[in-house]
């Protein structure tokens, strides 16, 4: 599987996972000049900015390790941008990480970390 295909498949899995959990999806791949937010979802007035990280099994790295300082800063900037532009009617915001690990073609594991970034 190519890298972009893997990412796309991972995001699809994450969307499914969020919907299963009772979230409604507001945006996918919210693009700006300085990056994109993979998924923006909403549940009970809370807005979730979800970053999806996909991995094939056996690489030796977990999805959580892929969110480094630079990525965190970017996520915060992107979220602030969205909040300022379109978030007026919502109250609570948080940034989540959804990690998807593939076993060849089939999903083996999906993990959801809530509120991963706090200043």
């Amino acid at each position: 599987m190519k890298k972009s295909e893997l990412a796309r498949a991972g995001e699809d899995c994450a969307v499914k996972h969020l919907i299963d959990k009772g979230y409604s999806i507001i945006e996918r791949n919210f693009r700006t000049g300085f990056g994109e937010i993979d998924i923006i979802a909403e549940k009970a007035g809370d807005i979730v900015f979800a970053e999806v990280k996909s991995r094939t099994e056996g690489t030796g790295f977990t999805p959580a390790e892929a969110v480094n300082f630079k990525k965190r800063r970017q996520l915060v900037r992107l979220s602030d941008y969205y909040i300022a532009r379109r978030g007026r009617k919502y109250n609570n915001f948080r940034i989540d990480l959804i990690g998807v690990v593939f076993k060849t073609d089939r999903i083996s594991d999906i993990e959801h970390w809530e509120n991963i970034i706090e200043e």
Binding site: D46, V76, S79, D80, I83, G87, N91, N92, F93, R94, I95, N115, I117, E118, E119
Partner: protein, 511 residues
Amino acid sequence: MLARIKSSCVYGIDAHLIDIEVDISRGLPANVIVGLPDTAVKESRDRVKSAIQNSGFKYPLKRVTVNLAPADLKKEGSVFDLPIALGVLSASGQLKTGRDGYIVIGELALDGRVRSISGALSVAMMCSKDNFRGIILPSENAEEASYVEGIDIIGVSSLSEAADFISGIGIISPRKNKCRADISQTNADYVDFSEVKGQEHVKRALEIAVAGGHNILMIGPPGTGKTMLARRVSSIMPDMSIEEALETAKIHSTAGINKKYFRDGIFKRPFRSPHHTASDVAIIGGGQFPKPGEVSLAHNGVLFLDELPEFRRNVLEVLRQPLEDREVTVSRVKNTITFPASYMLIAAMNPCPCGYFTDPERECRCTPLQVQRYISKISGPLMDRIDIHIEVPVVKFKDIASKKTAEPSVHIKARIEKTRKIQKSRFGAGKIHCNSQMNSKQIKKHCLIEEDAEDLLNKAMDNLCLSARAYDKIKKIARTIADMDESPRIISKHIAEAVQYRSLDKNIWPA
């Protein structure tokens, strides 16, 4: 939403009112503390978050801004945990403030329990001065704060308890005031002078020293009871007034070593005996946010320096200024603070390095030079501030074995209180309270000496080679001895006794 909680921070020994404002606004979850917090205050956000979550509340997923006002004072310590947590709860709408007018202090544990803090008494005193209704504080500190009258002392043991109280649901009955009830029962646990056998003349010297507020130095071979006697001095000191006791208690409260002190009751005179390796900062106080040192912890009590010449020179020199001014000022970049330090200095030393110079039985192994060096470690200016020098000889076995019990402290104390009363009426409401504080002008005015006593003093000056410094000291001591006799004039027997108490000014020491 904005919430406001009153709290307090202790600078030196006095508490200052601190306003804690908590604002919750839209945005990514963040937690900001502004208003010159130091590290312990900044760390409180992590404790607060865990404590809130573990107490069954929700920490808001929003931007939480905490402001500590006034913004120009440095804030230190962990006392803001509880008020910040209550502020966050109230700003996020999980708590309605139903009770107003309380000051809140307390440190939080991660599970929401409230931990004890230092300086609770100072905060309680500020509370009563500024007419607050009460204080909400860790239950472990409720006892020490209950010495303050006129405010509600609310001891809480957990965040949820505090939250219930603030919202008006919970009922916590205020702690009963302790001050009046405590006075009578303090003398029970002093060590008593009746336990010391023999050494009657040293006891007499100590009695004079306490009666006139003189500092005293005991010189004698090891094992003669210098330490034992010194420990018993606080039992013959006059009772403390409520103001004195509270001032001393405040110092102990801010120093954070309060548990044992407050268990013993605040009317017990403090007895501090720092080890001779103590540093100068440990003695006078210090630190970035200055904390009181030994001289302040001994305020209104006894500072006992055992093995005086073993103390480092600079440590002894810093003692001079508080002995004179009855307070110390500690200056640091962040703060300048004055601590009260009105104490009675009792020092003990051996006459020489081996210890047996004045012992009639044992041979001293020191050379004259060694003895001289040992004595000269104590500088003239410090010696100048010690009125009474008394030699403590080896106790005779006959005295130790005797069944006769010595005079109990209560009797000595009664005499001392009488003497202090005489001095009080002499000096009136002025700056000085006892004979030791007289300056040379006052000595001239108050120490009226009979003619034959004057002759005796002059003779003693010549024959014993007493220094000029000794002259005034002898007059002061004689004044105290005369007061103990209730004699308005100093007669020859008073002078004769006073002369004995200047042994280091005599030239019996190798020099």
